[in-house]
Amino acid sequence: MTTVFKKTPVLTDTVMHYCPGCGHGIVHRLVAEVIEELGIQDRTIGFVPVGCAVFGYKYFAVDCVEAAHGRAPAAATGCKRVNPNNVVFTYQGDGDLASIGAAEIVHAAHRGEKITTIFINNAIYGMTGGQMAPTTLVGQKTTTSPYGRDPEHCGKPLRVAEMIATIEGAAYVERVSVDSVPNIIKAKAAIKKAFQCQLDGKGFALVEVLSSCPTNWGKSPAEAMDWIKSDMIPYYPLGVKKDRTNE
């Protein structure tokens, strides 16, 4: 019998709690496959956030730390400084990273911390029930912007990848999307490069992943993927924002 597909051993067999059509499952698998392909499962430490990925430690088959809301980059820093040979990554959502943890991510990048950050941008707070995030699009309705995000009232969405790219210590920053198969393939390549950047000791790496949240967007999974394409990508252009990995 020929094996045509096998789940990566870097994901556990635990059934994920994510909603149907959620992008987290896809990104988890990409991260896990990259860890497997780079042969670093036995020395990788995952720092998971507060947010929908809070149970990430149940799914990634590596040693894991559950960090306080927004603090994963600081906690990961402590760990990496103790054991520089470990491969340390943080996996954070947009409330966690772009709002409450803005200082921690900026300064991890600023120090050129040799860690890898996977940043899930789904334009909303998922875990707490669909509140407005710094990444929520203008006009987008959420439970705390019931009339749509009004830029006069709370500004325009934060472009994290572009912001982090301006920081000297950031060696590699790219924005990707998981809305389609070609984009998922590109996303995996970016995640791999971000881990390789750490293995090569180049500095801080961040991959921003545009991801779906059908439940809180009030859309079907297919509609959600379409919305990433039609509404998110125009505001959050995909591509490499910074690459110093060849220097």
């Binding site: 960090a67 603090r71 103790v82």
Partner: protein, 353 residues
């Protein structure tokens, strides 16, 4: 080894290093800056790491990550900064990680002053952050004792998998006294199989976490913590009893204030009044039993708590005594350090009353 004259806030980090601390994460705040400054000079030379974090919040979370990796790690700050660390301290307690936090207390609330204070007693001994937890709280009253307690602090943290706080006031930090760094008896320390060091399949996967979403699982974690706290209360109380035998008045005070009280006791002695001192060295666990035993003596008429606070420790004293004898308080909140003369005068005056 000969005694050397050393400032508290340099002796403390040196003692931490000698106790095996190799990682320090902090943020500048007066009056404790000598500690991070000392660490920044020493740690890189001995294979450790000092990092100035972007905030106290980040610093304590770096401590969380380093402790999760199994390191002996420490942070220090002063009152307003320690308030910022409370979130992280709660997570460290919940995740059952060892670490040492030094608080050089200054006056509060708010920005307060930079003068010595004891206003953080509640915060330190009652947990400080959210949830049912305690820190082991050690309160030195001399530079030598601060040095000796650093060794205890790291050992206790490892043995009980709990954050330990060295609660000192600005005077302990700024004062120079002779110190001796002598060999310490090494307590038997547990291994750290729970540390995140990379999962090679030779042990269960390590997950450092304080999230227990199921009610019964969270209960189990809390029961484990409470059982540990009970054990700490039974085994780890430290207290100094000074001239308590046959005393008429018993002072309860800690830290530098206890030193001032010793001078006040000498002044009372000159007037023929016997006064003793119960000085908690562990503020948590509080030396409840020891205080009660001293107070039970027939000679003892009353108790007097002296603090640079509105009477925070005094609440624990009253709980311990539970009405057995009169318990009085002398002190002011903020940063006013009472003098030996005024304490003695108060004792003599209230005696006649």
């Amino acid at each position: 080894m000969a005694k050397i004259l050393m400032k508290g806030s340099e002796a403390i980090p040196e003692a931490a290093i000698q106790a095996g601390c190799r990682f320090f994460f902090g943020y500048p705040i007066t009056p404790q800056n000598d500690i991070p400054e000392y660490m920044s000079a020493r740690l890189p030379k001995i294979g450790g790491c000092f990092l100035q974090a972007e905030s106290e919040v980040a610093a304590i979370n770096m401590v969380y990550g380093a402790a999760a990796a199994g390191a002996r790690v420490m942070t220090s700050s002063s009152s307003p900064g320690v308030s910022l660390k409370q979130e992280g301290i709660s997570y460290i307690a919940g995740a059952e990680l060892p670490c040492v936090i030094c608080n050089m207390m200054r006056g509060g609330p708010g920005l307060g002053s930079i003068q010595p204070s004891q206003g953080d007693y509640f915060q330190a001994t009652k947990g400080g952050g959210h949830g049912d937890y305690h820190l082991i709280v050690l309160a030195p009253s001399s530079v030598q004792e601060a040095v000796d307690l650093m060794h205890n602090a790291f050992d206790l943290a490892d043995i009980y998998r709990t954050p330990v706080m060295l609660l000192a006031d600005g005077i302990i930090g700024q004062m120079m006294e002779p110190v001796e760094f002598h060999e310490h008896e090494q307590r038997k320390l547990p291994d750290k199989p729970w540390a995140v060091t990379g999962w090679k399949g030779d042990r269960p996967r390590s997950v450092v976490n304080s999230l227990y979403i199921e009610v019964d699982e969270l209960q189990e974690m809390n029961d484990r913590l409470q059982a540990r706290y009970k054990e700490i209360q039974e085994k780890e109380v430290m207290v100094e009893l000074y001239k308590t035998e046959g005393a008429e008045v018993i002072i309860c005070a800690y830290g530098t204030v206890a030193r001032i009280c010793k001078a006040a006791i000498a002044l009372c002695e000159e007037k023929g009044v016997k006064v003793g001192l119960v000085r908690p060295i562990t503020l948590w666990p509080f030396p409840e039993k020891e205080l009660k035993e001293v107070m039970a003596q027939e000679s003892v008429k009353r108790e007097l708590t002296v603090e640079i606070s509105a009477g925070q420790m005094h609440e624990d004293v009253r709980l311990a005594l539970n009405g057995m004898k009169p318990a009085d308080f002398y002190g002011k909140p903020g940063s006013y350090t009472p003098t030996a003369e005024e304490i003695a005068e108060y004792i003599l005056k209230t005696r006649e009353a």
